[in-house]
């Protein structure tokens, strides 16, 4: 059951990353930790899959990247939401809400 609990629905990773970055700039490890903690450890992603998503969103200019010193004084790559990313976050949030509401309605109607 745990495996099933950790799985993300397709397309939700981008939404989660953009949502985390909406609160401020963060490095990859920080993003993964925030998703894990915010979901009460329910949403666990294979951490390696986070980075291709970050790089893809960077190429799409949804997020910006810059190297900076981390809290451990080690050099880390930080990502921040761009204006285009903010718009994309709104679109994906609306899409997700439409989807989850539809699922909820289906579940409510059947219950």
């Amino acid at each position: 059951m745990a495996a099933a609990k950790n799985e993300l629905l397709p397309g939700t990773l981008d939404l989660l990353v953009l949502r985390v970055l909406a609160t401020g700039r963060q490095h990859g490890y920080g993003i993964a930790r925030r998703i894990r903690s915010a979901s009460a450890d329910v949403l666990r992603i294979e951490e390696g899959s986070l980075y291709p998503a970050l790089h893809r969103m960077e190429k799409r200019a949804w997020i910006r990247a810059e190297w900076a010193e981390s809290e451990t004084r080690r050099r880390a790559k930080y990502y921040a939401l761009s204006a285009a990313g903010r718009k994309q976050l709104a679109i994906e949030t609306e899409t997700w809400e439409t989807f989850s509401n539809a699922v909820a309605r289906v579940l409510g109607a059947e219950g």
Binding site: E46, Y51, K59, R60, A76
Partner: protein, 503 residues
């Protein structure tokens, strides 16, 4: 700003990083993640090695992730590079096309430029020629005469031909054979154009070229503008040219103007523009008229230049000048000469003159039998020979037995080593008559008395002409008998059947 950054990110216009830099950054980023995760796990009580291993486990395939990130980072770059290569290729092709088109266009423009220049040059030359013609016409209207060298190009002759002829003639003034070739081309023009061309070339010609020009026109026999051409020669400054003109003028005037230049000028003024057949006929009559009443000695003196009458021009014009002579009483005059003691006078040319005229005037058989045939057996070779020669004409087939009889009487018993001009003349006359039936008899004559007089005299003058065999001194009677045996098939049956007589 965000739009610019996004566009820059899309098209890779940000700070350019090398593949190695990108790989290093990815490795650094992933290492930070693993280190941070391991530290977190250590904080949860795992040993450092165990925490590191667990961090890697939670991360997944680090290498694959790194490659995937690098591919994403480089993707835009690769696409950009591909676009750049495509753009460069398109530009190169476009530049090549533009260059090729420019080259082709330049070549076409150069070609057109050359064509226009050539046309302009031709037009300029043509205009110049027209100006020269205009000046020439104006000059002629003032009674002046222009030479080719002064730029006059006769409008009635071919400009290009005249220019080429002039250039070639001026270049090779002593090459008379080359000049003859040009005159042949010139004579192919209509008579008036040929005269105009020659008139304009004339001042530029050398003496030799002028002489050959006169000869070329004269040998045309009956050229409609021959008198005008000969007038060029007769009035030329060079005496050698005048001499040639006077020689050719004899055929038309029956006079030798070398003896009287003023007489020529008067004659030219009278006859210069008259039809040529009229000139010939009337001058022939005047010529005979002038001879009447003269003694044979005076005639012989007067006619030294007219021993051989040349009626070829008249014949070309359809004029039977021998008939004109006969109608004017020439045969009666001739009879007087043949009866004259002067005929037998030593050093007199009357014998040759009389029999030459007898042949040229083409009297009928009766007249020849009455006035020429008696001389055939004359002991004087200087009379028998010319008499025999006077009979040498295809119209005189009736004379064949007479000529053969003459040879049969004289050849067999004669000294064959001693040439006899009368025998040779008789043999020659037989050849001119052209009757092949005499061949066996002539072979018999050689066989009967082989020697220089027969082997050469009959072999060369008669048999050679009748058979086409080239003379050779080895062609004696036996050789000809052998030849006859092998060549009888060439002749008609009545000739083939003839035996070779023995004498």
């Amino acid at each position: 700003m965000s739009v610019l950054l996004r566009a820059a990110g899309l098209f890779g216009l940000g700070p350019r990083k090398t593949r190695t830099e990108i790989a290093c950054e990815i490795a650094d980023e992933l290492a930070f993640h693993l280190e941070s995760r391991a530290r977190e796990l250590e904080g949860q009580g795992l040993a450092p090695e165990e925490a590191s291993a667990r961090a890697k486990e939670l991360f997944g395939d680090v290498e694959r992730t790194a490659r995937e990130c690098a591919r994403i980072q480089m993707g835009g770059r690769i696409m950009l590079v591909r676009i750049q290569w495509v753009v460069i290729a398109v530009l190169v092709v476009a530049l090549a096309l533009v260059g090729w088109r420019q080259t082709v266009t330049r070549a076409m423009l150069l070609e057109r430029e050359h064509a226009l220049r050539a046309e302009a040059e031709h037009d300029r030359a043509r205009l110049q020629e027209m100006e020269q013609v205009k000046e020439a016409v104006l000059a002629m209207s003032r009674g002046e005469r222009l030479a080719v060298g002064e730029g006059y190009v006769p409008p009635t002759s071919s400009d290009e031909l005249a220019a080429r002829w002039l250039a070639e003639l001026v270049e090779r003034p002593e090459d008379w054979r080359h000049a003859v070739g040009i005159y042949e081309e010139l004579l192919a023009l209509p008579p008036d154009e040929a005269l105009a061309a020659l008139t304009d070339l004339w001042p530029q010609l050398s003496v030799t070229q002028k002489q050959q020009a006169l000869k070329a026109f004269a040998f045309e026999h009956g050229h409609a503008r021959i008198l005008a051409v000969l007038h060029l020669g007769a009035t030329d400054a060079a005496l050698e040219v005048q001499a040639w003109a006077f020689q050719y003028l004899r055929e038309y005037s029956f006079r030798n103007f070398a003896e009287d230049y003023d007489a020529y000028l008067a004659w030219a003024a009278t006859w210069g523009g008259r039809p040529l057949d009229q000139v010939l006929a009337e001058n022939a009559r005047a010529f005979l008229q002038e001879l009447w009443g003269r003694s044979p000695a005076e005639v012989e003196q007067r006619l030294r230049d007219f021993e051989d009458l040349d009626f070829r021009s008249a014949a070309k014009l359809g004029l039977d000048l021998s008939q004109v002579f006969r109608d004017a009483g020439a045969l009666a005059m001739l009879e007087g000469w043949l009866r004259s003691p002067e005929l037998r006078a030593e050093d007199s040319g009357l014998n040759k003159l009389a029999f030459s005229w007898a042949k040229t005037l083409a009297p009928d058989e009766a007249w020849l039998c009455a006035h020429v045939l008696p001389f055939l057996d004359d002991a004087d070779e200087s009379l028998a020979g010319p008499a025999a020669r006077a009979l040498g004409d295809p119209r005189n087939a009736w004379a064949v037995p007479e000529l053969l009889a003459r040879l049969e009487r004289t050849v067999p018993g004669s000294d064959a080593s001693n040439p006899n001009s009368a025998d040779w003349a008789a043999a020659s006359a037989l050849a001119e008559i052209g009757d092949p039936s005499v061949i066996p008899a002539l072979i018999g004559l050689i066989a009967s008395n082989p020697g220089y007089n027969t082997v050469y005299g009959i072999g060369y003058f008669a048999l050679g002409k009748l058979t086409g065999v080239t003379y050779d001194e080895s062609h004696d009677g036996n050789w000809w008998i052998d030849w006859w045996g092998k060549n009888q098939g060439r002749f008609p049956p009545e000739v083939r059947a003839l035996p070779i007589p023995g004498f």
